[in-house]
Structures are given as C-alpha cells and as structure tokens.
C-alpha cells in the first residue's frame, strides 16, 4: 500500500488526497511506474498539473548535482534540484540561471516540463532554450537521453510537455556568467495600458522587463502600471566598498504565513490597499537602483507560504498570451472585465514573450498577462469570461497556472493540443503518464 497525502498546487485549489511515491533514484522511480503517473516537482504550478491521475511521483528526493563544466557553464543535475539551490551553489562562483520564473522554489524538472519563462523571454527565450539534454524515463522504465540531436522529437515535446511525456530524471542546463549578484533596476511609471506597452517597446533592448499592473484602475487609467527593467550589474558598476564581495547581497528577512488567513483579508479593500502601496513605492523609487538578485527576481519568496493569504479555499491564477497584433485590444478587455467585476487581483503581471522552445510549450511571440483571484463561484465565472476574451483575440493559456480550464476551450485555442494527444497515444504515453489536468483537458 502506498502512502496517501493531500495534494494540491500552489493555489491550493483543487485539493484531493492521492497516493504518492517518493523515489530516491531511477530504480525506485521505475518500480513506481504503474499507469496514470505524473511527476511532481516542488508543487509551484498553481493548479492540478502535478497531481497524478493514479499516482503522484515526487521527485524532490532526487536532488543531486552531478557535474559542472565551467568551460560551457553546463550543470548536470537530477530533476529534483531546486533552482534556488543552484543559485546558492553557483552564484558565489559567478553563475546564474539563464532563465528564472518569479520564484526560486521550483525544481529543474518543473522548470523544463512547463518550459518556464522569465522576464527575459522576449530577448533570450525560455528555460528550455538552455537545456542541452534530459534523461527521460518512459512508460517501460527505459531511460532515453533526449536532446536536439538525439530523440529530438521527444525532446521538443518534453519542453512544455507538463510531465506527460515521461519522468525527467536528470538534465544538463546552461548557466550564465555574471560579475555580481546585483541587478540595475529602472522603474518607469506608465499612466495607462498604451503607455505601458509603448514603454516595453521603447526598452526592447533591456535584458529583463516586467510590469506590475494596478488592476483596480479603471476608465482612462486602465492598465496603469510600473514597468521594471533590469540588467545584471557589472563589478565596476557597484559602489567601491562592494566590489570586493560582488556576490554578497543583503540577507532578506523571511516571513512565514503561519495560518490560513481569514477570507476577510481578501476583500477588495485589502486588494486596493496592496495595489496602492505598490504604486506609491514605485513612484518614490529613484530611476535607477541597485537591487540584490533575491529581491529583484523573487519578491514573493520573502513571504514563505504566502499562498495562505487567500485562506483555506485557495485561489486561482489566470495566465494567457495574446499575439502582438491583437494584444492591446485583448489586454484592455481582460483588464476591463477584471476591474468591472471588482474581484481584484493581488497580482497583475504583464510581460512580453518571444517564440517557445517546445512543441507544446506555452510561449509564443506576444504579451502575457497573469492575474489571480480567490477561489469561488464568482471567480470561476469571471475566469470563464476571461477565457472567452482570450479565445476571441487569438490567445492561448498557460497550463502551469491552470486549475479549471475547459477541454473544449483549450482545444479551440490551441490546435497543438490535439497533436500532443495523438503523439501521446501513438507512443503509449497516454496511459502511462496522466495528471488530473491532462484528464480534465483530454490530453
């Protein structure tokens, strides 16, 4: 009998108990394969993508770093290694991940399976672009080393394949040489959506760019935002006294959300307060500041367990990408609908994306918007309307954030979904690997 535990994604919606296995190595992983399995990294996907249809294979115990080649900046590591551990080990030696999502608490396996994007996607691509190869365990327990040269199809389906092509055991990823642990950040105020989009385009050359949107602003102020640009600081750009220790950044205070916050904390006034605060802080900030890597890339990681702020019922994320020509109209409609409902959104994040690396990966050239809402019937109804707006503007949906999309909507938005499913059937992957999400979305 396998141990069972309550499973959910980072949004804590949906939740349900399910059997888990936690192998330490390939042999134990092989022994656990039994149909309807999906790998789980660190559970930072928001919805049900890391909840196995029949069994969830936790990979956090397979967390060894195996080799590093400083010539190429290539790290070989097991899939359960956290990106934060990579930074801890390699930043002091002058290396940083090429691509990082907004939390460092993701595993390499999860970053590859979702082909995660950072604030540099429009210029440098997603996580998958910096993966040299993966060792993938298939239905029969056989391990295939897939790369752009060998088993290239399997490799391309695996980047962004949401764990549905097999279990990633090991991977070789590239790190970026950096001179310091500091980022030169520039904040730009944008009074409305058109100004925000124009500012992104005017600063196309910036390595990192992201905008926080005050998503309760309405009417002419719709899309009012702070655009934050960033560049890795060179050593000679640090104050003299810091140049001797260029990788040391001030330690951040850690807060932990001890209990499930009462749902009351969520009312729209609280949201308004939060957004206003962010707005005021951005206004005060000088034009260019030096920010430590942790504060720049991972502002939310300072509050461990912040997902509890939404209380026990959990919360829902919405993230789509819209193609460039339809984006402005589509974004206005999405933000307008959100503001109109007054559901608020703790976070509204706008970024630009370039082409994706994987065959079924989320990114495509365009604009991506992420919003979140307390779970509940009103939010679920709103998300259905946001889906319709996305579909009408030629957009598609990020499965790493999804907990409730309808299969018909996904398949209408993204013809690749059917090809992915057909490929899985033909290769016998569909019975071996399945998540609650893949069953819901008919993948």
């Amino acid at each position: 009998m396998r141990p069972t535990r309550e499973l959910s994604g980072w949004g804590r919606y949906p939740r349900r108990p399910g059997p888990v296995a936690a192998p330490r190595d390939a042999a134990e992983a092989r022994a656990a394969l039994s149909g309807g399995v999906v790998a789980r990294g660190n559970g930072r996907a928001y919805g049900d993508s890391a909840m196995g249809a029949a069994l969830t294979l936790e990979t956090r115990r397979m967390d060894r770093m195996l080799a590093f080649d400083p010539e190429r900046g290539q790290l070989v590591a097991e899939a359960g290694v956290l990106l934060g551990d990579v930074i801890d080990a390699f930043l002091p030696r002058g290396w940083f991940p090429f691509v990082t999502p907004g939390t460092k608490f993701v595993t390499l396996g999860g970053a590859i399976a979702a082909d995660v994007h950072g604030k540099n996607h429009h210029r440098e691509g997603g996580f998958g672009a910096f993966v040299d190869w993966v060792d993938l365990m298939g239905p029969d327990g056989q391990v295939t080393r897939a790369s752009r040269e060998t088993a290239p199809d399997l490799f391309a389906w695996t980047l962004g394949g949401m764990g549905l092509t097999g279990v990633i055991l090991r991977a070789a990823i590239r790190l970026r040489p950096v001179e310091t642990g500091w980022i030169r950040q520039t904040s730009i105020m944008a009074p409305d959506l058109a100004a925000a989009m124009a500012a992104f385009e005017a600063h196309d050359a910036a390595t990192y760019s992201v905008a926080w949107i005050d998503c309760l602003a309405r009417g002419p102020a719709l899309g009012r935002s702070i655009l934050m640009l960033g560049e890795h600081a060179r050593r000679d750009e640090l104050p003299v006294e810091q140049r001797e220790h260029p990788f040391e950044t001030p330690p951040r205070r850690r807060l932990t959300m001890p209990l499930d916050a009462p749902a009351l904390a969520l009312n729209r006034y609280a949201m308004r307060g939060f957004n206003a605060l962010y707005w005021a802080r951005g206004r005060r900030a000088p034009r260019e500041t030096l920010v430590g890597w942790d504060g720049y890339f991972y502002p939310l990681d300072a509050v461990l367990g912040w997902n509890r702020i939404y209380g026990r019922r959990g919360f829902l994320q919405f993230q789509c990408v819209l193609p460039p020509d339809r984006a402005e109209q589509g974004l206005a409609a999405l933000l307008g609908e959100t503001a109109r409902t007054g559901q608020g959104s703790f976070l509204a994040v706008l970024k630009r994306l370039g082409p994706g690396a994987g065959r079924f990966a989320f990114p495509m050239p365009g604009w991506t918007l992420a919003l979140d809402f307390p779970a509940g019937p009103r939010s679920l109804a709103l998300l259905d309307r946001l889906d319709a707006i996305t579909l009408a503007h030629g957009g598609r949906f990020y499965l790493a954030k999804d907990a409730r999309l309808a299969a018909a909507t996904l398949h209408a938005a993204d013809p690749r979904a059917a090809r992915f499913r057909d490929m899985r059937r033909a290769a016998g992957l569909d019975t071996a690997f399945a998540s609650a999400q893949s069953e819901r979305l008919l993948l």
Partner: protein
C-alpha cells in the same frame, strides 16, 4: 558553541548511505569540512559524492567499509589518510523484532550491526585520535537503548550496549581533548522508518540530526536527544516502576 574551525577538520562518516549520514556530511561540507563517505558498495554513492563536492566546493571521497568485518578494521583505520578530525558512525540495522525473536542469526546481525561493529570502530579511531588532543567521535545511537521495550528490544539492547560503550569511552578520555558524543534520535523520517505512521511532533528530519551533531561536536552537551522532547519522554519511560512498565505495550 564556538565558531567553525579556521581549517575545517576532515570528517569521516561510517554508514555514508544512510540519509542521516548524508545529511551530516552535507552539514559539515557546508562549513567547508572535507568529507569521506564510508559504506558497503561505496561506488554506488558516486552521485552523492559529486553532489556534496559541487554544492560546497569541498573534497569528498568514498571508502569501502563493512562494519561487520572486524578483521579489516585495523587496516581501514590506518588507511584513512589524512586522519579524520571527526568520525561519525550512523551504522545501524533495525531488523524485524519478530524475526529476531525466532532466528538467532538475524538477531545476531542486528546486535552486531548496532553494537559490536560501530562500537569497535569508534573505539579504534579513538585510540589514534586521542593522542592528538582534539577532534570528536560521534555515535548515532537511539532512544530505543534507554529502556528495553517489547516492540524492539533486540535492536534496543544493542543500542543500549553502544550507548554504554560511548559513555565509558567518554569517561576514559575526558582529559584527552577528544570529545565523545552520543546522539539519540527518537523518530527520524528515513528509509528505516518508511511506511511507518509516525507522530509529526516527535519525528525529526535527517537535517535536524545533522544540526544536533554539529552543535555537539562544537561544544554543546555530549549526550543529546534529537528533538529535545525525547529527553522528557524517555525520562518518563525510564521512571516507570518495573511492575507497571511490564504491563505497558510501548
């Protein structure tokens, strides 16, 4: 508690495959101690060796070691060059109590793996380390050795022997400058306890055992329970009068 050594002493882990042993190795490596992982089939630990070396930028070696091979022991001790400054034994074997009751071979294996092997190895290392007047010997024993109980007295009695041996060694070497540490975990979430239904408040992570070891090596008390609450629990269990104790099923 003192600061980490300026030149951190090499650490030898006997039983390097155990999750507790690996956690201890990682913890010392994080403070820049070079590490040797000694285990049966040591070559199988290559991934762990590489991991610790890469993460912490220290030298990590593997050594073949069988705690039950007493003939090989003196050679094994002599072969550790440079000599370790800190030796930790996490070797142990739980066995099946029911099997140990019926099968003397199985029971002897449990007794030898928890007592004879670890005690004699640490004893021999103490002989070569004491003259240097510094360093530490650490034995990971168990609360199970504090009082023999129906559910695991074969394992528990061997741990009791190990605990008593370490106590005597500490007593004898008290003036030598070599510390002798006894670590008594209660429940720890590892391979040994996998599938058991353990109370969360009483169950430590391997990293907590590692933290306790490092603290004790650097100057804390030399006999430590992991999760201090176990000290109270075991005091209560030891304090039960025999007529009452024998009717319990602990």
């Amino acid at each position: 508690m003192t600061d980490p050594d300026p030149t951190p002493a090499p650490v030898l882990i006997l039983g390097g495959r155990s999750e507790i042993g690996l956690a201890i190795a990682r913890r010392f490596a994080a403070d820049r101690h070079p590490v040797v992982l000694a285990a049966r089939d040591a070559a199988g630990l290559e991934a762990d060796r590489a991991d610790i070396a890469l993460r912490h930028g220290v030298e990590v070696r593997l050594a073949e070691y069988d705690a039950l091979d007493l003939e090989a022991l003196p050679g094994f001790v002599a072969a550790q060059q440079p000599p370790p400054g800190i030796v930790v034994s996490v070797v142990g074997l739980m066995g099946e109590q029911a099997e140990s009751e019926r099968d003397p071979q199985a029971a002897a294996r449990v007794m030898r793996s928890n007592y004879e092997g670890p005690a004699l190895a640490l004893g021999l290392f103490a002989e070569v380390m004491a003259p240097r007047g510094k360093g530490a010997i650490v034995g990971v024993s168990s609360v199970a050795g504090d009082r023999g109980r129906a559910s695991n007295y074969v394992y528990g009695s061997a741990k009791a022997g190990f605990t008593a041996f370490l106590s005597g060694l500490r007593n004898r070497l008290s003036d030598s400058g070599l510390r002798v540490v006894t670590v008594k975990p209660g429940f720890v979430a590892t391979r040994m306890t996998e599938g058991m239904d353990l109370p969360a408040r009483l169950t430590a992570a391997p990293a907590e055992v590692a933290e306790a070891v490092v603290r004790a090596v650097r100057g804390g008390p030399e006999v430590v329970y992991v999760r201090p609450i176990w000290g109270l629990v075991m005091r209560a269990i030891r304090g039960l009068p025999e007529p009452m104790f024998k009717r319990t099923r602990l």
